[in-house]
Symmetry: C2
Subunit: 216 residues, 2 copies
């Protein structure tokens, strides 16, 4: 069955592929699974029909008939479990790849999202510049540790996995900040992810939505 995912009708990232549907699109493209997309306006996201699918009123969701999931990490894991290509076959290597999925979303992403929240909600506060330094310090600590782990390897643990996929999407959120440029091996890691044909197909698909919707 062809699954249906949800995405922003008008993504606040203006088609830069930073919304969380990008992860799911990319995972589906990596495993060669075609999918449908249902676009949601911000008001539709708050309605009971969508809350029944996603208690926190976000995108993406994932539906196969009556079966529905939310949380981009869980959706990517579901895709990775049911198709070859995103998790190693060896049990120990598979557990380590899953570890990197959690590391991407629970250790690396929170301070990076915190910087975005600060820019959005505190950008006009008197304390903004000072607090931004604190937040960016926390981001740099994590990036330094991640950079130390990656070294000159291509991917975080052996072959490309769903852990790399999620980590690339998390690090891309720093695009434009200049912070990632301080860690050349992490910049190269992100570029390797972006160079994958499946990434490009996913990126183009979400960009096409933005272009079409903003022209309408």
């Amino acid at each position: 069955m062809k699954p249906t995912i949800t995405a922003f009708e008008r993504s606040p990232d203006r088609g830069r592929g930073l919304a969380r549907d990008m992860r799911v699109r990319w995972a589906l493209e990596e495993v060669g699974q075609p999918y449908n997309v249902r676009l949601l306006s911000f008001s539709e996201m708050r309605e009971p029909a969508h809350r029944a699918l996603h208690p926190f009123g976000q995108i993406p969701t994932y539906e196969e008939g009556d079966f529905a999931l939310f949380e981009s990490g869980a959706i990517v894991f579901h895709i990775a479990e049911r198709h070859a290509g995103l998790l190693p076959g060896d049990a120990n290597a598979r557990a380590r790849a899953i570890t990197w999925m959690f590391a991407a979303l629970t250790t690396m992403e929170p301070p990076i999202v915190d910087r975005e929240i600060a820019r959005l909600l505190e950008g006009r506060e008197t304390w903004y510049e000072q607090r931004l330094l604190l937040v960016e310090g926390r981001i740099r600590n994590r990036l330094g540790e991640l950079s130390g782990h990656l070294g000159d390897a291509d991917w975080l643990d052996g072959e490309f996995s769903a852990g790399d996929l999620l980590m690339v999407t998390v690090l891309r959120r720093l695009n434009g900040s200049g912070i990632l440029d301080e860690y050349p091996n992490l910049s190269a890691f992100v570029a390797r992810g972006e160079a994958r044909p499946a990434y490009k197909r996913a990126f183009d698909a979400q960009l096409a939505v933005f272009k079409t919707m903003s022209a309408s």
Copy 2:
């Protein structure tokens, strides 16, 4: 093989079971798997030997011989995959329980941890009170949505699962703030988790470490 986990030699939570080894202890107790604990000082956590196990220099880690994992979410998932009791047998229900694992750690926990970081790093800043209101507003938004989803059910999706286990440990971080009391069904959910025999065994084990180490 009896696994070995790591925990704080002197937990900053003073034995209140808020450190992330608690989740792993609880999961191991739920499935009846005995384990060893290796205690680490803050300086040992920064050493290369520990960084080789955990690139971000945190606790807990999980070792079975040469096989090692980090990230509490990934460790709980590893335990849940290999033993009965923490994930449903039905494939769709299992995927939904995993969704709640990710929701606990990536949607609910970040604003709650952000409040702790603010108290720790910004408590003496002029902006502290004003920013605390912002952070607590974000927490309340999420709690309201979670409370709406839970309703009068015992657990987040059918039977108790690793998703409930992680969510209880995340919500417990609000203990003492008074915020959770505003959502009686969520307070009752946490109390149900804390009443489980496996939770109590795990809690007592981590408290015993704190008492022993602080008496030495």
